[in-house]
């Protein structure tokens, strides 16, 4: 059973390895992104009378963005985009005929891609961030726990993306909705701005959604803000969200498939 899906995992790594230029360009573009964030936040803090903004010191804020730049790519996947393309071309029917669980096979591929990303993109960029941008590691176990939490975040995102892709069965032209999904997730997962910089009312609403467990909470684990007990609490909530989103997807997927014509656009 696991063997079957591990092949999807390996297949994605092999596909990613075929395009080595992506890895080199990542190493060039990420430091630019890190530098922009450092300069922006240094400017904002130097113009501020307070030593902390939204409860974060300048060091924590810079480390927050460095962590996002280095490891943030782990949680992002293109499952819904791939499904959208399959629906559009009519290829989905062929995929559904294969003797594997469709959603698990998609998630396995995504995990493979993100594992590749961790090894080939995050680790070299981490070295750059530490050497040139002064990225701090507050606590060694915290970085391992934050990466585990990021992979749980990835699973949340995978099952959310699967659920979101059900909309593409109705619209066929999936790209605009895919863009909306990407921006919404980046916005409310704390990719652009830590969520504690958001207005309090919005923060209270976001607490009841799964998105702050994608990136924001794992980054807080990295910043050593949580105790070990609190970290376990975060991971437990992440597991609950994975189960809820997987169940939601399966329920609606069965209903959607009954009406699916499979002809594409």
């Amino acid at each position: 059973m696991i063997n079957k899906y591990s092949e999807f995992f390996k297949m994605e790594i092999k596909e990613d390895l075929a395009d080595r230029s992506r890895f080199i360009l990542w190493i060039i573009s990420k430091p630019i992104s890190m530098m922009i964030n450092i300069l922006i936040w240094t400017a904002i803090f130097s113009n501020s009378n307070s030593l902390s903004i939204g409860g974060f010191s300048i060091g924590q804020t810079i480390n927050y963005f460095l962590f996002q730049a280095v490891f943030g790519n782990i949680i992002f996947n293109n499952i819904s985009e791939k499904i959208g393309a399959k629906i559009y071309s009519g290829e989905l029917s062929t995929s559904l005929l294969k003797p594997v669980n469709f959603s698990i096979s998609m998630v396995s591929k995504s995990l493979g891609g993100r594992f590749f990303s961790l090894i080939y993109e995050s680790i070299p960029t981490h070295a750059i961030a530490m050497l040139f941008f002064g990225m701090q590691i507050y606590n060694k176990p915290a970085i391992i726990l934050s990466i585990i939490s990021l992979f749980l975040g990835l699973l949340i995102n995978c099952f959310f993306s699967l659920s979101w892709s059900l909309l593409y069965f109705k619209t066929l032209n999936y790209m605009p909705l895919e863009r909306i999904k990407r921006f919404v997730i980046q916005f409310i997962s704390g990719f652009y701005l830590p969520l504690n910089f958001f207005p309090l009312a919005l923060q209270n609403v976001l607490k009841f959604l799964p998105f702050n467990f994608l990136l924001y909470e794992p980054t807080k684990i990295f910043l050593n803000i949580y105790s070990f007990k609190e970290i376990l609490g975060v991971m437990l909530i992440q597991i609950v969200w994975i189960i809820v989103l997987y169940g939601t997807f399966n329920f609606f997927f069965k209903i959607t498939l009954k009406k699916f014509e499979g002809v594409g656009a």
């Binding site: 630019i32 922006i40 652009y192 701005l193």
Partner: protein, 263 residues
């Protein structure tokens, strides 16, 4: 000249016709564009809510700056910079020779053919934010400031043309390396922030080497009367001209070495 206008008009009509042929998709596209664009002012609003923001720039001035950056980029995207987006797939699939076979000047045809209706939404949202910020700022609009503003946006188009030429030259030789565009998009983020917050080396790079500041910071500074040194406009004109020459040369060189195998 008439034949180019004719081609441009036909291309625009075809593009709009295609754009509005899928009404549902167009609606979602509009929504996605608006959402994407207004995300940044929203983030700025959050930042200014909890801090003093950037030195010497109040929030509505920042809105004006990012609106300018968006207008310049989207104007370039639907014209000079669009050369890259519309021809990259031709290079990848080995179909670029179709452009060369047309009885037109290659560069002019490439610019005309790069019009894309999808950028209209970006231009519109940019102007909406621009108008909003002008109303909120209650500034006195001067003729000199306004002329400088639009002239510098035109100069920034020349600079974008130069960048597009350099990118195209690279793609002619490496049609599969489209990921290099990520570096361009990442670096273009600089245009959303005032130049005075960056160190001198970065200021120099963003003015002379990768002159993205000409597309936002400098036009906004003249319009908002933050800069009164109009002699700099001559320097910016020279930069724009230099980039236009480099861009043309880079495209010609790329076309000369083009082997049409695809990627």
């Amino acid at each position: 000249m008439n034949k180019y206008i004719d081609v441009l008009v036909r291309h625009i009509l075809m593009d709009f016709s295609e754009f509005f042929s899928h009404k549902q998709a167009t609606f979602f596209q509009f929504f996605a564009d608006f959402f994407e664009f207004f995300l940044q002012p929203l983030l700025l609003y959050f930042i200014y809510n909890i801090s003093s923001g950037f030195q010497g720039w109040e929030i509505n001035e920042m809105f004006f700056l990012i609106a300018t950056a968006r207008i310049s980029l989207s104007l370039a995207g639907s014209s000079v910079l669009g050369i890259v987006f519309s021809n990259l797939w031709r290079l990848k699939s080995g179909n670029f020779h179709q452009v060369l076979l047309k009885p037109f000047n290659t560069i002019i045809y490439m610019i005309i053919g790069s019009f894309n209706a999808y950028w209209i939404m970006d231009i519109t949202s940019g102007f909406l934010l621009l108008i909003y910020s002008i109303i909120k700022l209650k500034i006195q609009i001067t003729l000199l400031g306004t002329l400088s503003y639009f002239y510098l946006i035109f100069i920034s188009l020349l600079c974008y043309y130069g960048i597009a030429g350099i990118l195209m030259n690279f793609f002619f030789k490496n049609p599969r390396s489209e990921n290099i565009l990520d570096i361009f998009w990442t670096a273009s983020r600089f245009s959303n922030y005032p130049l005075n917050i960056f160190p001198n080396v970065i200021k120099f790079i963003l003015t002379f080497i990768f002159p993205i500041a000409l597309s936002s910071y400098y036009p906004a500074s003249y319009f908002l009367s933050k800069s009164a040194d109009y002699s700099l406009i001559i320097v910016f004109s020279i930069i724009g001209l230099a980039f236009a020459i480099i861009g043309s040369y880079a495209i010609k060189d790329g076309v000369k070495n083009h082997v049409s195998f695809g990627g």
